[in-house]
């Protein structure tokens, strides 16, 4: 009887222990340095099959079928699956950490990925064929050096808008970390275009027929030509490698063994939502990406797939301006919610985008900041599923990247748009800065905005934990008006509180430290510090910083769990 009672008591205690949950959860990290690069460059000897993009089916699925099917699947909301221990994205064939990881001068951002030099400096150009796909005029050309480009143009009657938007976003998206083609705004004359002897007109079904001067003149008659005969275009250099189509919005490419993480779980694709909303790049879809099967630059016997983003000409308000659709950026093309509200209210409901006005500047689309809502921004179509699956942590990551751009860096990218009206460049820069701050301010209120955690040993075994408060660091919060304090609690590996608590007032610089933190007992002195931010208007869960001793005995951050 006594034994039975003891057994029941022990099991009850065990049950109680299991029933009460530690505030630091169950997640634990390996005691090792975070990973900053992954190996997705293993040899893929057989070229993966080219993915065909079927636009109608893609959008039918995006607007209706797969969207409903995904909802009926009762999918578990999952955090991004390819982040490292610090909730960051390692370098890969998809993404390379750039701005914020190292200093980038405005000149470097102005140059972007463009290393081969503009074709404008290497005329005349030889036209090889017409462009296939898309609704607008375009050609495949080679410059005098033999470098190959797609040459595209602005919509007739709407000069500079698309070409400027493309190169500006190309520079900024590259600086964020994505792979993009080399794009250039070019100015040229009709006489700079020479038909190749074998130049052909290609139709969407692959048929070809010889291109004539008359055809070329007929095509050029439909685009903007300046009074002096100058033609403005966008030259986009062919991406190295063999193109195999864009990346799927769901799942992996089955014949690419390096494609391990389902795309809808990739941080760099989900976090793009915040970045694209900042840039108003509303045209997010599969065929605005491109995978290429490339030779390894050091070993030509090795091949793998590299992933690019491209076609940015609809950003910066170009799409709503060109298509005369003010809702772009605020509602989908077919937005069932908005349709329902309009129908129920018989049109009386005033939609948030109805007051939008374009600035009336040559080269600038419907780009604004006041009606812009980073929480409610919508691309043109809901078809790109990583955006639907993006959570606040993904967007916090994206916001961390975009807020790093200084005004000078943004202006340097904008200058590549080569606006004929100087006011246009100033306006676009100002709008980008305002949207940048609005975007960051929003996402920094959805997740504890602390970052760049570092620990330093103190004498006697304790350590100091320092971190940036991004909202303060980037002057998104006035610390004098909204004083900030940070509270820390310390837990051991088992999740038990050690009893140590601390509260510090935030520094006006945005970088604050909590000192004299005692390491927890146990292997490697594995310690979990819960850091909570208190500020008027901020109500977010704390961040858990996992610290352990490295092989030299020094404390280091081995993991970050944002709640």
């Amino acid at each position: 009887m006594r034994s039975l009672f003891l057994l029941v008591a022990l099991m009850t205690a065990a049950g109680c222990a299991g029933a009460s949950r530690s505030p630091v959860g169950e997640t634990r990290f390996h005691n090792r340095a975070p990973v900053w690069v992954v190996n997705d460059r293993r040899d893929v000897p057989v070229k993966p099959e080219e993915r065909k993009f079927f636009k109608a089916l893609y959008h039918l699925d995006g607007f209706w079928h797969k969207r409903i099917d995904r909802a009926l699947e009762l999918r578990v909301p999952r955090r991004a699956a390819n982040v490292n221990a610090l909730d960051e994205v390692p370098d890969s064939t998809w993404f390379t950490n750039r701005i914020g990881v190292r200093e980038m001068t405005p000149e470097e951002i102005a140059r972007g990925p463009n290393t081969t030099g503009s074709p404008e400096d290497h005329r005349p150009w030889t036209i090889k064929s017409s462009k296939v796909g898309g609704k607008t005029v375009g050609f495949i050309i080679k410059d005098k050096r033999g470098v190959k480009y797609v040459l595209k143009f602005d919509e007739a009657g709407i000069p500079e808008v698309e070409t400027a938007a493309d190169v500006i976003l190309q520079r900024l998206v590259w600086a964020c970390g994505y792979n993009v083609p080399e794009d250039y705004v070019v100015n040229f004359k009709r006489s700079d275009l020479v038909l190749a002897d074998d130049a052909v007109i290609k139709d969407p079904m692959g048929n070809e027929k010889p291109m004539t001067e008359a055809f070329l003149d007929q095509q050029l008659a439909t685009i903007n030509v300046g009074p002096d005969g100058t033609i403005r275009g966008l030259a986009s250099q062919f991406i190295p490698g063999i193109p195999i189509g864009g990346h799927d919005r769901d799942g992996v490419r089955p014949d690419d063994p390096n494609d391990k993480v389902p795309h809808q779980l990739m941080r760099e694709l989900r976090g793009q939502y915040a970045i694209y909303s900042w840039l108003d790049q509303s045209d997010a879809k599969e065929d605005n990406s491109l995978d290429t099967w490339v030779e390894d630059p050091a070993d030509k016997s090795v091949h793998y797939v590299v992933h690019y983003m491209l076609d940015f000409g609809k950003g910066l308000g170009a799409q709503p301006f060109i298509n005369g659709r003010r809702f772009v950026g605020h509602a989908y093309l077919v937005d069932f919610r908005d349709i329902g509200l309009s129908l129920v209210t018989l049109g009386a409901w005033r939609r948030p985008w109805e007051g939008r006005r374009d600035p009336g500047l040559v080269g600038v689309g419907l780009l604004d900041s006041e009606p812009y809502d980073p929480a409610r921004w919508k691309p043109y179509s809901p078809s790109y599923f990583p955006f639907l699956d993006a959570d606040r942590f993904d967007n916090f990551w994206g916001a961390k990247i975009l807020i790093r751009f200084t005004r000078d860096q943004i202006a340097a990218a904008v200058a590549q748009g080569r606006f004929s009206d100087r006011r246009a460049a100033a306006y676009v820069t100002e709008m980008l800065v305002e949207r940048q701050r609005k975007t960051a301010r929003h996402w920094f209120k959805q997740v504890n905005p602390l970052d760049r955690f570092e620990v330093q040993a103190e004498g006697g075994g304790s350590f100091t934990l320092c971190f940036d408060d991004l909202a303060v660091k980037y002057n998104l919060e006035d610390s004098l008006v909204r004083p900030t304090s940070y509270a820390a609690r310390v837990f051991d590996h088992a999740g038990r509180a050690t009893g140590f608590v601390a509260r510090v007032t935030g520094e006006l610089t945005g970088r604050s430290c909590i000192r004299h933190l005692p390491p927890a007992a146990g292997a490697d002195a594995y310690t979990i510090i819960e850091v909570r931010t208190s500020r008027p208007g901020l109500a977010v869960p704390p961040t858990l910083v996992h610290v352990a001793r490295d092989p030299t005995g020094a404390p280091r951050v081995i993991g970050l769990r944002r709640l």
């Binding site: 090792r32 460059r41 109608a56």
Partner: protein, 505 residues
Amino acid sequence: MQLVRCVAVALVLASPGRASAQPTPAPAPAPEPAKPDEKPAGQPAEKPDEKPASADTPAQDHTAASVAKAPEPGQVTGVSRAEPESYRMRSVGRVLLYPVRGLLWVVDAPFRGGAWLYERYRLRDRWKSIFFNDTGTIGLYPAALVETGFGLNIGARFVHRDLFGASESLKMRASFGGRFRQLYSIKLSTGDRLGAAAALELEGEYEVRPRDRFYGIGNGDEVDSVAMPIDPYADPTAVATRFRQKLARVAAIADLLLAGPLSARVSGALLSKRFDGAEAEDIPSKEDDLPDAYDTGSLPAFDDGTDYLYNELELRLDTRDRASRYEPQTQPSQGLLLSGFTGVATGLAGAETDYVRYGADLQLYLHLGPSPRVLILRGLVEEVRGTVDQIPFVDLPRLGGPLLLRGYDQDRFRDLAFALTSAEYIFDLTNLVSAYGFVDAGRVYPSLADIEADDLRVGFGGGLQLQTDHSYLGRASLASSIDGGLLFHLSFDPIYDPKARVERK
């Protein structure tokens, strides 16, 4: 409560065959093997939070060799133990929803398959390559149309959009079924040949319309049948009947831009019309053949047909436009249309046709809000004047149908004159779809001098309008009236285009 929970958990823990009181973790990405202090392959000497020290590291600057010892994607989280997750309720939900998902896939399969086929085989481009020339200016292609109340109409069309280099066009058509047992037409337009201020059209047409509607003459209420044929001019009783019409027409139409929004249309047509009762197969149940309900001898031109010349002059003041570039071109949201016309019909080859027709149409577009929201007010009158037996019954002004006096059947009311007012509120749901609601009120009269508000016919309803930025596609509406009934209309004619009397309706 906490104690009860603890005891419950303890008992569960003690249950045989149960590994843990915690929910079974879902198959999340597995944490890496737990080896403390193991250096990830390829990492340099460890320093806290060290990042690769490369300067500019575009993707192409990483090589296969430089990352060879790095872990695979998805194996970098550093997590040795993840949060437990429980998906039991979701699993139950998923099983319950499988049938719904299956139904969704089945229902959507034709649409998805169609969309895939359309793109995979580039059906639109193939259509053009099969039926049109390389420049898309010449085409010979099949066409089909479904008209509510009339059925399927199929045929072929030939078009040449640039005959002589100034967008002159030639269109030919042959079709069968639906409203038309047979239809043959040819149309020649001058395009831009005469400049922006003028355009000329010549057209010829032959139609066999096997099931046109006739409800008598006047504002009478509808009855199921009559005991014997009645004189429609003496008795306004309305019976739903059908009749057959053969129509041949050659017309010339000149559109002239006079000044700014003021334009004129001068037209003339040679018309030949022959009538007969409908075939039994063309008469819906609950409707009659016209000769069974009405005395055809009292219907001018029914028994002998008619051949005549009709000339008309119309003046239009049209300031309708969209309020901003952000509204669709196909939906005016401000301005007005004021149109007045007068025409003369003169019999040929001994036909007794002889009358004058005149009328006016006033449309006001009131911009209530952006996108747009528009209130359209309309007033329309029309009259024919002449000796009654010299006015072919088919030429009497008519009300009823998807364009005029909605909520009533096509051609429900006809007499020597009509007056119609309409109010419609239209607002956009998306740039492709607008919703609208309307009230139409009107009546036919023996003459405009007899206009009064008594016994007005009132139709009302609403629907959806489809458009692109540049093209009006059509309307689907549900309409009813104070006389009851519910009509579904699908129409492809722009409702507010000025009514064409010379061209085919």
